[in-house]
């Protein structure tokens, strides 16, 4: 176990290192970083001053090491628009993004769970088909289209929920439904497959033989076993959810990191873009690491590989 842990942690550190390196070369490849890091209105003297301040007159390797050191400390410079530390601006937005991502995560698993049980319990064939088709159809609608569809139906026509912003639980419903249902088809297929494979096992037959009802066998006996694959895949997808928050936050004007990054792009605020991208990538790597470790605990076979 210790070796598995060590290997995974080392891999994660290497990844973060790779991300920083890629960011460094990207900014350099795109041209003079001093120009990128200053507002368009900046004068030639301003550019010279920032060149000296950033050490851009020094050899590339010195610049790289310096960039690496700053990045590790989360220092990407000051926001060009706000004048305060870019990382601080990004960190302010993290709770909103986490709130959205985690709620969507549970909405996704919860819906797959309820619909999966429903599909298992019902004898009505068309209902099962309908659920599968709806989930497949949902998968073919991009996040922003689905978000707007929900706004149109629930905010504009029915006037039940607010169109944008954050604050009450009502604000959270539509964004979480938008993001949480994206992978529903995958979750449902997985959940159904694992329920079906449990169904064939002896312990299920024994439970039925004892005279227990269909629902009780399903909930008490099969469920704990069938849920593991679902939770694992959903955990792996938690990282993808993080990427999806960028678009979802923009649709609903949700004040998270993703929206901040998109706004910073239109304002050409590079320190904030770099800090935001770096932070989400690190969160992504950490989530994947945690899911892997958790899975290693739950299923010992994983550790061998």
């Amino acid at each position: 176990m210790a070796r598995f842990l060590l290997k995974r942690i080392l891999q994660s550190v290497l990844t973060v290192f790779g991300v920083i390196t890629a960011a460094f070369f990207l900014v350099r490849l795109a041209g003079d970083p001093a120009v990128l890091l200053l507002p368009i209105e900046a004068s030639a003297e301003d550019i010279e001053r920032i060149r000296a301040a950033l050490g851009l007159d020094q050899p590339l390797i010195v610049q790289y090491i310096r960039f690496l050191g700053d990045a590790v400390r989360g220092d990407f410079g000051d926001s060009l628009r706000q004048g305060t530390s870019a990382m601080a601006l990004v960190l302010e937005r993290v709770p909103a993004t986490l709130e959205l991502a985690l709620t969507s995560f549970f909405v996704g698993i919860g819906l797959a769970f309820v619909l999966g049980i429903l599909m298992r319990m019902t004898r009505v064939r068309w209902l099962r088909e309908l659920i599968t088709w709806i989930a497949l159809g949902r998968q073919a609608i991009p996040l922003f289209s689905f978000g707007l569809l929900l706004i149109l139906i629930f905010s504009i026509w029915l006037k039940w929920l607010p169109t944008f912003g954050r604050g009450t639980w009502q604000h959270l419903v539509l964004p979480a439904l938008t993001l949480g249902t994206y992978e529903l088809a995958l979750y449902l297929r997985l959940f159904n497959a694992s329920l079906a494979s449990e169904q064939r096992l002896d312990y299920v037959r024994t439970a039925y033989a004892k005279g227990q009802g269909h629902l009780k066998v399903l909930l008490r006996h099969m469920l704990p076993n069938a849920l593991l694959p679902l939770v694992t895949v959903a955990g792996i997808n938690l990282g993808l959810l993080l990427g999806g928050t960028v678009v979802t936050e923009t649709v609903f004007s949700w004040p998270g990191v993703g929206r901040l990054i998109v706004q910073s792009v239109s304002q050409r605020d590079f320190p904030v873009i770099l800090a935001g991208t770096f932070l989400i990538s690190v969160m992504f790597v950490i989530i994947n690491l945690l899911v892997d470790i958790l899975y290693g605990f739950l299923d010992p076979r994983v550790r061998m590989t």
């Binding site: 891999q11 990844t15 790779g18 991300v19 960011a23 990207l26 900014v27 795109a30 990128l36 497949l136 159809g137 998968q139 073919a140 609608i141 991009p142 996040l143 922003f144 289209s145 707007l148 569809l149 706004i151 149109l152 504009i156 990282g239 993808l240 993080l242 990427g243 999806g244 960028v246 678009v247 923009t250 649709v251 990054i261 998109v262 910073s264 792009v265 239109s266 050409r268 590079f270 873009i273 770099l274 991208t277 989400i280 990538s281 992504f284 790597v285 994947n288």
Partner: protein, 276 residues
């Protein structure tokens, strides 16, 4: 006899609608996606302006014909999607074949690169890079292509691993043929059909990615239209003229669902499991 297959039939129907939209519509007389008419702006579907011109899908905020806009945007998306798929297919197949054929450190480096790329959310990577190099159709197609090679690379490597032990490769090697020759003449033709299946799946994903970037204002730039950008423009008129946002969404849905069913039909026929 081939049996009737629901996913095949759905794929054909959806893609036929797309062909009509992006190939037939531009051939119609009076096709002009740029012509503005502020007097006839925001016409609903089936509306007429004061001159009595009929607009099947209405007009947008500048009075431009929605049907023509949708058609041109579809051409743009399809072009970006196709170029991106070709770029990523080329990179992915090359790297995958090299990794699978040579094994050893080369394989470790290539697969490590794949892992590294998957460890950053793709939207974010694309946003950061476009922010730096600037958005344009060419950049978009290149970037989408450069960031989508992993699926091809993994499948190509997996297939090569088993193919390289087969007799026809062994006999070629004992006769002294070079690695380049083996890869090009023996491995590539065997791997290519499967790559096209991956491509049909990836095409839909790339279209969605392009639409998302354009929605965020980082993809296709005006005056060229794009479905994602049209949705974003329509968002402000959701109550007044919902067709502005809904029509491009439907177009996206038809295209993406069409390719989803197409790759599903392919997958069943070839009994493959696609790894996304």
């Amino acid at each position: 006899m081939p049996k009737f297959n629901l996913s095949q039939a759905t794929a054909v129907t959806l893609l036929a609608i797309m062909v009509v939209l992006i190939i037939i519509v531009p051939l119609l007389p009076g096709y002009d996606p740029y012509k503005q008419d502020l007097g006839g702006a925001l016409l609903p579907m089936g509306g007429e302006n004061f001159r009595g011109d009929f607009y099947l899908l209405g007009t947008d905020t500048l009075g431009r014909d929605m049907l023509d806009r949708l058609a041109l945007a579809g051409q743009v998306s399809a072009l970006i999607g196709l170029s991106a798929v070709m770029v990523s297919l080329f990179i992915g197949v090359t790297l995958g074949l090299i990794a699978g054929y040579f094994r050893g450190p080369v394989e470790n480096v290539i697969m490590g690169l794949a892992d590294l790329q998957l460890s950053i959310p793709r939207v974010l990577l694309l946003i950061a890079v476009t922010a730096i190099i600037g958005p344009s159709v060419t950049n978009l197609a290149l970037l989408l292509g450069l960031t989508s090679w992993v699926a091809y690379g993994r499948v190509a490597r997996g297939m090569t691993l088993s193919l390289r032990e087969r007799e026809f490769i062994l006999s070629a090697r004992t006769q002294g043929s070079t690695a380049t020759w083996n890869i090009r003449k023996h491995l590539l033709p065997n791997v290519l059909p499967q790559m096209l299946i991956v491509g049909s799946y990836e095409f839909g994903m790339i279209i969605v990615m392009e639409a998302s970037l354009s929605y965020l204002g980082l993809g296709v730039q005006p005056p060229l239209p794009s479905w994602g950008m049209m949705v974003s423009e329509g968002q402000n008129y959701l109550a007044l003229a919902p067709h502005l946002a809904i029509l491009p969404s439907i177009a996206l849905f038809i295209l993406v669902a069409g390719f989803q069913f197409l790759s599903q039909a392919f997958t069943r026929e070839n009994e493959l499991e696609l790894v996304a």
